[in-house]
Symmetry: D2
Subunit: 434 residues, 4 copies
């Protein structure tokens, strides 16, 4: 176990340079000897650009890390220590459809949590299960670090249907940690938030700075919206009274759940002006790849910040570090509940603080989710578990029940219409439904 092989599935992603930078920065702690970037035929060109940039970055750092790009996923997975997944089935075009379809029905078009995320789950789960079969065969001791959204649902599919050691990741909790720290004039590394909930629906239940409970100050800061960062992450559209009543830190995505009307209106408007988020990202991506392709470029370009995904590499490589070096650090991850949230089913995925060591992620016991949060958590969890079943069986009935259970969907009739639309527009990408 003296050197690490990383396999990056979806290696042609515009995020990859951040990952490469992270590897370079952690060279002391993480003896990476090989990074194998995989992508599909369609992403060949981008993959090649990323490969070039990555090599230049490694070279500049003077490191002896072999960077390879391949379309042969099995080759990449073979003997890997960590398989990192950040792929997007159908690419940004599919995402654009995911965001547009719901809007036709006056429903929020969000790519991870609404019907859009549902479509994405249907496309993604069969692929990740295929990847897991390869891991089981070719690298049975490898850790699967999944970033592919909807991360909570994808992780649950892997936990329930494979034997692969797997952890789901998201940059939302770390973003909240940084924002809350800033609002309290504290250092992020001294700020600890007790997180528990679901992916993209996680609450910060208590905030500690150097062990001191500063939850009430953090909530007050959230209400005042004094901190620019805080505003950015958790917008002040929440009323003061609601935040006071809730008395925990919501995550940015909670706006979609607690402020449905407002968010739908905003989405509607922007979809008519600057386009949906996917449509905007497509442009950013184009620009990014032009920059990446330049033979002079040998570092992570500043323009990547615009793309979002802040802390992405920090979150994933800190996790790799904690596993590889048996650190027993605490990270917020998507894993099997196993009773950590006592009134949630034990066999589902939750997003929760966990001690990470070489044996994996060990959730810190949270106890019962309070009644004022439990209803929403249970509703979303039911939707997620149904989405896993639908994706795996290709059963239309399960899909309809999943979509009806989704809190963004007002109505079973609307669910049925959207389902038809989703299945139609994703036909070639959803073989399990044909």
């Amino acid at each position: 176990m003296s050197s690490i092989k990383l396999a990056v599935i979806g290696g042609g992603s515009s995020y990859t340079p951040e990952l490469i930078e992270g590897v370079i920065q952690r060279v002391e702690a993480l003896p990476v000897s090989e990074i194998c970037l995989v992508d599909v035929e369609d992403g060949k060109e981008k993959l090649s650009i990323i490969e070039g940039l990555s090599r230049r970055m490694v070279e500049k750092a003077g490191l002896n890390i072999r960077v390879r790009a391949t379309l042969d996923r099995r080759e990449a997975i073979r003997d890997a220590h960590f398989v990192m997944t950040q792929f997007r089935v159908g690419g940004l075009k599919a995402r654009a459809r995911d965001e547009r379809i719901p809007l036709k029905y006056n429903v929020i078009g969000q790519e991870t949590t609404g019907p859009g995320g549902f479509a994405k789950a249907l496309r993604t789960i069969p692929v990740i299960l295929d990847i897991c079969k390869d891991i089981e065969e070719l690298a049975p001791d490898a850790w699967l670090i999944n970033f592919t959204n909807p991360a909570g649902i994808v992780t649950e599919a892997v936990l329930k249907h494979t034997k692969v050691k797997s952890i789901g990741l998201c940059n939302v909790p770390i973003g909240m940690q940084y924002a809350v720290a800033e609002s309290l004039n504290a250092k992020p590394e001294e700020t600890y938030i007790e997180f528990a909930g679901l992916n993209h629906m996680v609450w910060g239940h208590r905030v500690y700075v150097n062990g001191e409970d500063r939850t009430q100050e953090a909530i007050a800061a959230l209400i005042e919206g004094g901190s620019a960062t805080m505003k950015n992450i958790i917008d002040t559209q929440f009323s003061s009274e609601f935040i006071q009543a809730l008395n925990v830190i919501p995550c940015p995505y909670h706006r979609y759940f607690y402020l449905k009307n407002t968010m739908l209106e905003e989405e509607m408007k922007s979809s008519k002006t600057e386009g949906t988020r996917a449509e905007q990202v497509m442009k950013t991506e184009e620009e990014l790849f032009e920059i990446y392709a330049s033979p002079e470029m040998d570092k992570k370009p500043e323009q990547l910040e615009k793309r979002g995904g802040a802390h992405y590499s920090k979150v994933s490589l800190n996790l790799v570090d904690a596993i590889w070096n048996n650190r027993k650090d605490i990270h917020t991850v998507n894993i099997l509940n196993n009773g950590a949230i006592s009134n949630c089913a034990p066999d589902v995925s939750v997003e929760i603080n966990a001690v990470i060591d070489s044996a994996g992620a060990h959730p810190i016991t949270f106890g019962a989710m309070p009644v004022e949060l439990n209803g929403l958590m249970q509703q979303v969890k039911s939707y997620e578990s149904l989405a896993v079943e639908a994706a795996i069986t290709g059963d239309r009935h399960k899909a309809l029940l999943a979509l009806t259970a989704n809190p963004f969907v007002p109505d079973a009739n609307v669910a049925e219409q959207m389902l038809n639309d989703i299945l139609e527009q994703n036909k070639s990408l959803l073989p399990q439904f044909s």
Copy 2:
């Protein structure tokens, strides 16, 4: 224990004649010697009309039952064997407001399950707890049979905050039983439905006729909508595919949850034409009381059928019969869950089949609520438990969280506006919030 005293709180209700008729019909099984009708000052006149009619009915039947009307609730409760509650704090005027307020915010204005029902719960719970104090003092062995809506929430308040022996009732399950029986050309008494869920959100999980499982036929009948009764009770606005996917019998109120858009549209339309349900009922009531007042009238008038509340007396007196005569019959009631639905909190009220005997209601173990139903059940249960807390504490924050958790309410901002409206318009009836 040779003869029974019934106390009827809200005795001036237009439903009372049905109850009287039921008592008369069951004279062999239920040796009722006294019926004490109580109401508040405002309902004095109606109470007197009901008293007159009731006495004429009893006299006509040649029975020796003392019928009394009083404004002194404590006198009525003293030494009663059964206290039946069917009162409405604020009367139909309050109900009309409950139905109108949500519509202003594009939200379903339903008197029992939405924000309307929430307002009703806030008004009702302090009163029922007062009644319970009287029972604890004056008739500690009495059974409280509660029909007052929202029956699930009111029952939970009583279970959690008093020592009174209490069972909540609703005529929805028996209505479903009759409709399903008709759709299968079976007799209602030979038709058994496995019910489990919450009040006004109960599902029929399996249907048996004389022990034979005919669930699939009942679902097919529901889809075809062949039976007139079935149509009436569970409207065919559900799509065939949705019913097939759900694969259980929804209750009529499920339309509000599963078909929110359609139901809102309909309500909006009728509120502008024939008025809300409360406004229509007010007219019916007026007519009814004119008929009741006639000295010639000595039976339950046929016009009462129009009022709704079918089977109301059957449900409540069958329960009284099962308790008094230790029958061990199975009825569908609102009681403490106690683990009967294993993935629901043990200390909340559920609507479920239970064996009824002199010791009370013993729920039949249901097991885990299936994932496709659990999300909605949990969401509504959380709302209900929060509503109980809000009603008891008068805490605005709890009230806001309750309303936000209600599935009809799209948004915390909307919840806040509606809460202001509800508290304002019910000011004199909600002393706990002042």
Copy 3:
């Protein structure tokens, strides 16, 4: 479904005449047209005697019931409506060994609950699973009514490892009902006991006569030991204070758990004088079969009473009646817990009151087992579940853990010695361990 076929596995048992008598008595309610008695080669002779007696009994009653004896189990099971199991693998000789082995190690030698019952479970479970395979193939709609001990363990094996509809039975609860009724000068049919626990370790938590709670009187009667029957069933060796402290009605077998020392002493003594229970029963059996064989004998002989097993036919045929006629009666049965006892695992067998109808047994929700009973229940349940695993896998380690977990076994060293002895002495009957 106009007439019933009963298959009786272990039909050569001396108990069978009681069953035949029961069928004859219930001819109005239960249209039995065929009784098929099956046994193994070794029991051929007894089977033939029982067949003869049964036919004479049916004939005398003037009934048209075909009584058949066969060694072909599959033939008997084919198209049966009810399969009743009362067989004993290895016969009374094996039982005698079961009772003798523990005594060598100063451990209670009880045929159902201690190491003796463990040995019996190891022998029985593979056979019952074979029977279930036949039922799944040849009579998939049949009900398996299991009387074979240890009934709780055998039932759990069937529930966990087959798809057969199955209910486990025991005559202990009905015996307690009769004894308690007598002690209260009440009729058994008016006496209702709330039973919950495990097989041969069930408690009567509350006692009602015609709906009136008379638990405290029943406990007082138990302490006074005034009733002869009560003495017989639940011996007064319990101290007054212990019964008062326990405050529920223990079952006769609880003496083995709560009065280990006394019971061991008694067993030791009687094993040296009149022999173990099995050894005594062997003699009774011999006498019985002589009587049965007489061509004049055409009814259940009185001498059968001595054999024990009172109410055996009542319990099993009442159950058959409740299922066949969809009665929704309440009986005490061994079935899947499914949350009925909320602090017990959901997927194990418990002995509990249940509503019985054509769809099977529906346990009445009990709630949490009180802490003063829960420890013992959990310990015995763990032992039982481990015994099922051991019997099915033939894994010596599981067997050792099961035996160590048994409350009669003081010590892992003793468990190991007894296990060696059990496996050695049952070698030919435990193929799974070879």
Copy 4:
């Protein structure tokens, strides 16, 4: 919060010098400014000796720590940051009785887990609750670090009946860690054991050295008994097969549960020769205090090792360090289960690995206790919870049920006799039972 006040209840204990040594060694991490040793009138002399030795030790180390001895408990507790309890109600004489009484009834006389520990719990709980009242009033932010046995039961009493922030401690897990490490030729600090169970009944479920799973090797070493330390801690009286079957690391006290016969025999023998453990310790104590009293003695004397209680100061001061410095270290502690062991009641104490920081102890989710361990755990937990109830209410019935539930007690009759003996011999120390 710049300097720490420690209050040590039972400060006259012979263990105190180890604690003082520990404080001196940790002076960098723990800025202790005051150590207040409290004891009762009877322990005045010893307390004075300990005070003298402690002052000489602090002086020798050149530290500015104020060491005080007092009989005024409230004074000691006022404004303390940590209250450490290591007192023994009734002293070693009471312990000697605890150990002798059970032996009269052929029952293991262990001072913490059997009837002896039960007597100790009855004496200790009222006193610790009094201490907690003082803490609530005089130092509401203080942490109670309890070492007083039976630590699991005492901790549960504090958790259930006070608001004091409290953690129970035991040196058994650290002893196992050291022994297992030695058996694997690993460093203790690189050896991590997944502990979960109850106090003095905790299992090591998995063993990791630097993140590598070496559980099977540790079990093999245990079987071979190759390591002297291992032998000492977990004696080889366990058979190889039993340890293989169990497949986890038992704790030393498990011998009393799994090897009852052997242990009882040994105790019987030694009680007749060298005396019970308490009787031996009395002699050691006398010698120790002679040494302590010498004005030349200014360090922890080597003879203390003989007394037992290895790692005692390490365990408690590491915990104080983790709390004070918000370290998020993992320690094995006795705390509220809260769902960490999912099939154990949530509101009871368990012994489990937990993350320790300034907000307290956060148990790491363990999941369900495996069936082969669960029976014993549940039985002992029931006993412990009943013992808490008995100690608090002084209810003889509860006490009898507790004692009957204890796995060392064979029989309710024996329990009753022992209870009489315990209450009689502890009369003046058990006011709640008079």
